[in-house]
């Protein structure tokens, strides 16, 4: 048959998967070749704030575990010999040192995330269920179940003389009546904290209000904090505030 009559495959738009969207994003954020995809849906938290959350979660957990254990062991007294002094010392020391290395971790996390370009809010911000539970229910129980509990409603009040972006990420199961937040910190320990921040609890059908005031002279940067549920003393989410440079 004639060569030009022979059927040929169309030239594919690409021959490999896109494994990392950030590496195909140009400096101005344009997608090099992603004709069918929309990797960055609007409304998702930005990579930095999520990485910050990651950092906080890791560190938070370690501090809490270390403190709990140290307290338990020093209170209990019994069988104390089984616990070496080094460990007790280490648990306490860990709590002391946490502040120092939090900055390091955050910076690392930011670096990783800064180049990772994580799109999509995804389910990552959801609570994680324990991987195993003891089998009590029949195994063929319906895989369907009701969705997560409705999120706490929070109103944001931000006052700032400059463009300011706030990302609030609350776990679905938290209750808006007992949330507390402390000063927002930047990765750079030399930057001052944003201290004028606080929750007014939800009451009479009114949502909780998170108030953030950024002083006019406050340096530009990203400031983050963990939101804690005062009732359980467990992390309930994160808030991250990015203050732009003076225009």
């Amino acid at each position: 048959m004639e060569e030009d009559e022979r059927w040929k495959r169309p030239t594919p738009e690409r021959t490999q998967p896109i494994r990392n969207w950030s590496t195909i994003l140009g400096a101005n954020g344009e997608t090099a070749r992603a004709p069918h995809s929309n990797p960055t849906p609007a409304g998702g938290p930005d990579p930095v704030s999520r990485a910050v959350e990651l950092g906080y979660r890791v560190i938070d957990e370690y501090i809490r575990q270390g403190q709990n254990a140290a307290r338990r062991f020093s209170e209990g007294g019994m069988n104390g010999g089984a616990l070496t002094a080094t460990w007790q010392d280490a648990a306490t020391r860990m709590a002391q040192l946490s502040g120092e290395w939090m900055g390091l971790w955050l910076e690392l996390a930011q670096r990783a995330a800064g180049s990772a370009g994580m799109p999509g809010a995804g389910p990552a911000a959801r609570a994680f269920s324990a991987p195993f539970t003891t089998p009590t229910a029949p195994p063929e129980a319906s895989p369907l179940r009701s969705g997560p509990a409705a999120s706490a409603r929070v109103r944001l009040q931000v006052s700032s003389a400059r463009p300011t972006e706030v990302t609030l990420d609350l776990r679905p199961e938290c209750t808006a009546t007992t949330l507390v937040v402390h000063s927002l910190r930047a990765v750079d320990p030399n930057l001052p904290r944003i201290s004028d921040v606080g929750f007014t609890p939800a009451a009479n059908d009114q949502p909780a209000v998170l108030t953030i005031r950024v002083a006019p002279e406050h340096p530009a940067g990203t400031y983050s904090a963990v939101i804690v549920d005062a009732k359980t003393n467990r992390p309930a989410g994160t808030v991250s505030v990015t203050v732009a440079d003076h225009a």
């Binding site: 048959m1 022979r6 040929k8 594919p12 738009e13 690409r14 021959t15 490999q16 998967p17 494994r19 990392n20 969207w21 950030s22 590496t23 004709p35 069918h36 995809s37 929309n38 990797p39 960055t40 849906p41 999520r50 990485a51 959350e53 890791v58 957990e61 370690y62 575990q65 270390g66 254990a69 338990r72 209990g76 089984a82 080094t86 460990w87 280490a90 040192l97 290395w101 390091l104 971790w105 690392l108 990783a112 995330a113 990772a116 999509g120 995804g122 389910p123 990552a124 994680f128 269920s129 324990a130 991987p131 195993f132 089998p135 029949p138 195994p139 063929e140 129980a141 895989p143 369907l144």
Partner: protein
Amino acid sequence: MIWYERLLVNEADTTEQKPVRVAVIGGGCAAMTAAFELTQPHLKGRYQITVYQPGWRLGGKGASGRGPSARIEEHGLHLWMGFYENAFRLMRECYGELARDPRTCPIADWRDAFQAAPLIGVTDQLPSGEWQIWKGMMPPSDGLPGDKLPAGHSWTIADYMLRTVGLVRNLLETIRQSEPAAAQASPSESNPSSLTEQVQRVLEMGELATLAGLTQGLALLEMVIGSLAQYPDNFVLRFLDALTRNARAVLESRLAQNVPLRRVWQVIDLTLATLRGMVRFGIAADPRGFDAIDDYDCREWLLLCGASPSAVDSGWVRALYDLGFSYENGDLRRPRIAAGQALRSMLRAFFTYRGSFFWRMQAGMGDIVFAPLYEVLKRRGVRFEFFHRLRNVTLGTTTAGANGRYVAGLELEVQARVRGGGEYQPLVDINGVPCWPSLPLYEQLEDSDIMRQRHFESHWDSGGAQRLLAVGTDFDAVVLGIGLGAVPHVCRELVARDARWRAMVDHVQTVATQAFQIWMTEDMAALGWRDLPINVSGFVEPFDTWADMQHLIGAEAWSQAPRALAYFCSVLPDLAGFDNADYPQRQRQQVRQNAVRFLNRDIGQLWPAATDGAGRFRWNILADAAQGNDLADGEDRFATQYWTANVNPSDRYILSLPGSTKYRISPLDTGYDNLTVAGDWTACSFNAGCVEAAVMSGRLAAHAIAESPPLNEIVGYDHP
């Protein structure tokens, strides 16, 4: 259905064109997916498909048949995982289009075909030599596999990191929550020894919580310093580094006696090592995603990232290797799997499953997957040429040189002819379900007595007329859907002439597998297994994986139904003399010996009451499907059961060896302008031997020919 949304897109350009004749070689998951996609209604018959399949049935590595008493006979245990988005989507579309009548067919809907199987188990061998099973009920997760994902959905390393941290937090929380129970017990109610035990338990948990935080937190610190270099190597840090190592050593030795806590610790250890590795190896910023670490073996990589040797040797990691048959040349001393693909598999499996972690088919894989696909494809006008084996692929080159290479001819062996010249009708009805028989329906074949002597699916079988297909006359395009092991045998010219194809067959390796199934007259409780149906991996070789498949008994047709059914499988080491005609028989004999030895020696660990006083298997509990009158006694009774040595080159399981995945060839880029490839061995982004990879590859093959489905609809193709 929701994913028909895009069907209107190509309508305009499909009219008035001569159909493209596509020869689909093979009838496995990948090839059938390609045929399914190329005949989607929106393509309006633009692609005219003929499937060429040796023997009497579709399915390849997923083929199954109905033997005596319509018992289901499989290549091995097949489970579907909750993250098989493409595979489930295919099945959901297929069953939807088939629209079987539930009044006449018990497997009418895809939900009849697949059931959630959330209970899983991994095993640990105690210092005493005894095996213990760690059972876990995986919680149901939102949605169902194959549900449409939100627009713009994608996976990122950062997401996985967050989820990994969440997992650790939860494991720690699980431990913490279990503490009060021990602490609350009133001392007056307890005898001294149990009080001591409780105190000891609380203490160990406390230590675990502290040290998990400490050691892993500090290891993170270690990593931060290692990565960023600009921080001074001061006294405190050195102290902490030393403390990490000490703490881990002390903790591990303490936990040696506390098996449940040790297992939790191992998961924490592995998870945090993974997290560290993701950051340390810069995977989040690497354009290759997890492929960046594919040159490492998974265990080696975990150790490099600070996992403890005991965690790396745990049942969890062994289960990962066992489920992927990841033993080079079937040699149990050479467990090897590419770290990147292993990680991708684990993260997808644990963090992206929908509905259930595992799904079990409610009949044979052939009946559940390939019979419905066959029926739908027949309706869509696909032609099936059973009893056709590809023997050789010939190539042509145009003046355009390297860019103008193509498949010029296909040389087929016609193994058998259908009486009267019509198409072979392959399915039989079992309890209202169309099924594949374990043997051909000889009465449809010419010379049926002679045909009974043939082993149509065997690589060592030959005979029949040659049939030549020429490009332009008989076909325009080719989907090569055979297993990789068969490629060197039928694509000799391709492999000899093309360095890329040669490198692929040299580096991407396969392994033979063995499996057996036993039907028993006593139920699992009577055999000493008192739990819900389970899938266990990481058990003792030669059969490391067991699944309780009693749910299938009802789908069979026994006059006296057995009470229990168990499937076992694992890799099968190669023997010398592959080219000899008796090779498959020798390997089959080997599998039988392995199974008998395993049942006599090891099964008592799982089913203590299945053995006699001397600890040997009670052979008389085996049920005979053929219901022969003079049943053999003792070990000989095993002959009534089903076992298989999967040694045909095409049936060999594909491995993801370290350093091999980069040699895979993509369906989108074969180097031949009328050829695409479909199979779990191709570069399909999820480079592992599983149904999902095969289906993804089939969809890519269809895209290579028809630009449909669009790449962004191949779920998980763009994945780190």
